[in-house]
Symmetry: C2
Subunit: 353 residues, 2 copies
C-alpha cells in the first residue's frame, strides 16, 4: 500500500485509495457538474475502470479530444471551452483529466482559464504523466511547434495515480516516461539512477513513488522555477528543440518526449564534461544506460541548424541567450550555463558517435 | 496633484508622476524587451505622448491589434503570442497595455499565459478602463458572444492613469465609463451618485480617483469575487446579456458596455423594488439619472427570449440558476438573488416604459 504525498496545496493519492478520496472530494465540494476529459484511447481503455470506481450522484459529462502532441494547442482548448459552455459548465464545475501529458497539461490550462478558473483533478494514465506532467503545477499548450509556450502555473485539487492504467499503454510510452525517472536519478538521486542502471527486480510502483516524491520536494522549494526547479530541465533544453524539430519535420517520424529528452541528456552530459569537468566516465555511463533503453536516432548534420534555430525559442532563454542546466556531478547541477554553439553541435556529434 | 493608490500587490499612479514611476520600474526590473500593445487609435493618439515620457534604453517593440470588442477573442491572443514570439520575447519581457478595456483585459491575459507568465503594466486610455478594467486583477477575452468567458485573475505590476488621454476618446466612450461610476455611487457611495445626479462642477479627475479608490477597497477585501466583490456586478447580469445580444445581432448597432450596463441598472433596480422592497422613488431616481445621460434604446419584445438565453451563460450562474445582485437600498446590496423569468421580462418593459 503506497501512502499519499502532500504536494503544495493538494494531495497525490495512489491506487484504490484514490477513488475513495476523489469521490469524497467531489461530495465535499458539491460540484455542479463533473467534466471528464479523455482522448479516444483513454476513453476506451481507462474510462470504464474510472467510472466504475467513482461514486457520485452528480451530473457527468465526457469531453473527448484527439490524442497526440499535435493536438496540444489553443485550437483544441477553444473546442473544449465551447463544449463545456454548451454542456452548461459553470464556476462550480470540476474538470477531471484522464490521460497522458497532453490531457493533463491542456486540461489544467483549460480549467484554469474557464470563467477565470474552475477546479481540476489530474488522473495520469501514462508513465510520463505520472512521474512528471501531473504534479508540479505546470499547465500549458504548444504554440505552433514551440512546446508549452502558452500556459500557467496552476495546481489541481488532487492527483490520483493508479498504476493499473499503465497496462493500457505501449512499451514505447513506458520508455518515454522512464527518461524522466533517469533524469531524477542523475540530478537528484544517484541511488535511483543506479537501480535503473542495474535493472534488477525493479518495482515500477516504487520508481513512480520515488519520482513523484523527488519532483514534489523540488517544486515545493521553488514552485515558479526561479532557481532549484531548473534542475528538472536537465536534458530538456536541447531535448525540447530536437522534439520540436521532429514534430515539425513532415518526412520524419516523431520522437516521444522521453526519446528526445534521452538524447538531450546524453548531449548535455557531454557539454557538462567540456565546460564543468563532469567526469568523462560518468558521461559514458549515462550514454550507455540510455542507449541500452532507447535505440539510437541518427541526428543528421544537415538538420543541426534547424535544431539550433528552435533552441533560440526555449522558454528559459533571456536576451536571446540559451540557458542550459549542466552537471558538475551526479546530484550537483549548475544552472543558467551558456554553451558555445560549436559545443552544442559537437555534443550532437558525440551522441551520434 | 493626485496621490497614488496602493492596490493588492501593485500601485496605481496618476498623471505625470506615473511616467517617472514606470521608467524606474522598468529600470529596476531590468526587463529584456518592452512590448507595447496598442490598437490603431491609441497608436496614433496616445502612443506619441507615452513614448515621449518614457525614459528607457531597453528595446521597445509595438504590437498593434484591431480596435473593438469584436476582436477581444482568443484568435487575437494567438496573433499577439506569435508576434511576441517572433520578436524574441522571453520570460523577462514586459507587456505594457495602452488602450481601453479590450486592450487591458486581453493584454493582461496574453501576458499571464505567455511562457507561463510575464509582467504587464496597464495604461488605460478610456474612462471605462480607468475606472474599471485596469484595476482589480480581472483579465480575459470573449468566447463567441460570451463576454470574458476565458480569462484569469492576474495583477499588473503597475497601473498608470493619465487623464490627459481622455481627450482622445469620443463623448460616447466617456459616457460608457460614466455608467461604472454611477454603479459605484449606487452600490457603495451615495454621495458620489448625488454628485453625478446634480451634475454641477464635476471634476472628472476626482470622479476617477474616487472610483478607483472604491473598486480597490472592494477588491482588496474579496479579490476572487466570493462575496463582497459581487456588488460590482450590479447592472451587469442583465447588462452583459443585452450587450452580447446587440454584439451578435448583425442588423443592430452595438451598444457600448456602459450603455448596456445602464439599461441593466435600471432593470435590476426595478427587480430590487419588486423582490426586496427597494423604494420605488429611488428606482425612479436611478432611471432619471440614467436616461438623462443615455438615450433610450428600445428593447423589442421579440428579442426578449434571445436575451434570456444569453443570461443563462452568465459567469455567475451555478446549476443553471441566474444570480443577480440587487439593492435593498443605496449602498446596501443583496448577493445571489434568484429572479423569476417573468420579472426579468417585466423589468425590461419597465425600462421601455
Amino acid at each position: 500500500m503506497m501512502k499519499s504525498i502532500k504536494a503544495a496545496s493538494y494531495p497525490v493519492h495512489f491506487q484504490e485509495k484514490g477513488y475513495q478520496e476523489i469521490s469524497s472530494l467531489i461530495s465535499k465540494n458539491n460540484y455542479s457538474t463533473i467534466f471528464i476529459m479523455v482522448d479516444e484511447n483513454t476513453f476506451e481503455l481507462c474510462y470504464p475502470k474510472f467510472i466504475q470506481n467513482l461514486e457520485t450522484d452528480k451530473r457527468i459529462e465526457v469531453i473527448e479530444i484527439e490524442s497526440g502532441e499535435i493536438h496540444k494547442n489553443i485550437e483544441t482548448c477553444i473546442g473544449v471551452w465551447n463544449a463545456i459552455t454548451e454542456l452548461g459548465g459553470d464556476r462550480k464545475s470540476v474538470l477531471i483529466t484522464l490521460g497522458g501529458g497532453v490531457i493533463t497539461d491542456l486540461g489544467g490550462f483549460v480549467a484554469s482559464c474557464f470563467k477565470r478558473g474552475i477546479d481540476f483533478i489530474n488522473i495520469p494514465t501514462t508513465l510520463l504523466s505520472m512521474v512528471d506532467a501531473s504534479v508540479g503545477g505546470k499547465t500549458g499548450v504548444d504554440l505552433g511547434v514551440l512546446k508549452n509556450q502558452i500556459g500557467l502555473f496552476a495546481n489541481p485539487e488532487m492527483v490520483l495515480v493508479d498504476t493499473d492504467y499503465l497496462t493500457t499503454v505501449s512499451e514505447r510510452e513506458i520508455k518515454s516516461g522512464t527518461a524522466e525517472i533517469i533524469k531524477y536519478g542523475i540530478t537528484y538521486d544517484r541511488k535511483l539512477f543506479n537501480e535503473i542502471k542495474n535493472n534488477k527486480g525493479l518495482n515500477i510502483n516504487d520508481l513512480i513513488f520515488r519520482s513523484i516524491e523527488i519532483k514534489n520536494e523540488v517544486v515545493l522549494q521553488d514552485p515558479k522555477e526561479q532557481n532549484l526547479r531548473k534542475i528538472l530541465n536537465f536534458g530538456h533544453t536541447l531535448g525540447h528543440a530536437i522534439e520540436s524539430f521532429y514534430l515539425k519535420s513532415k518526412d520524419k517520424e516523431n520522437l516521444t518526449h522521453g526519446e528526445a529528452i534521452a538524447i538531450g541528456m546524453v548531449c548535455e552530459s557531454y557539454m557538462s564534461e567540456k565546460l564543468l569537468g563532469f567526469p568523462a566516465n560518468k558521461v559514458s555511463e549515462i550514454k550507455e544506460v540510455i542507449l541500452a533503453i532507447y535505440k539510437k536516432t541518427a541526428l543528421l548534420k544537415k538538420d543541426f541548424s534547424a535544431i539550433m534555430d528552435l533552441l533560440k525559442h526555449d522558454k528559459k532563454n533571456v536576451n536571446g541567450q540559451v540557458n542550459f542546466v549542466l552537471l558538475k556531478d551526479f546530484e550537483d547541477c549548475q544552472l543558467d550555463c551558456k554553451v558555445p554553439e560549436e559545443l552544442i553541435i559537437e555534443s550532437m556529434e558525440f551522441y551520434n558517435s
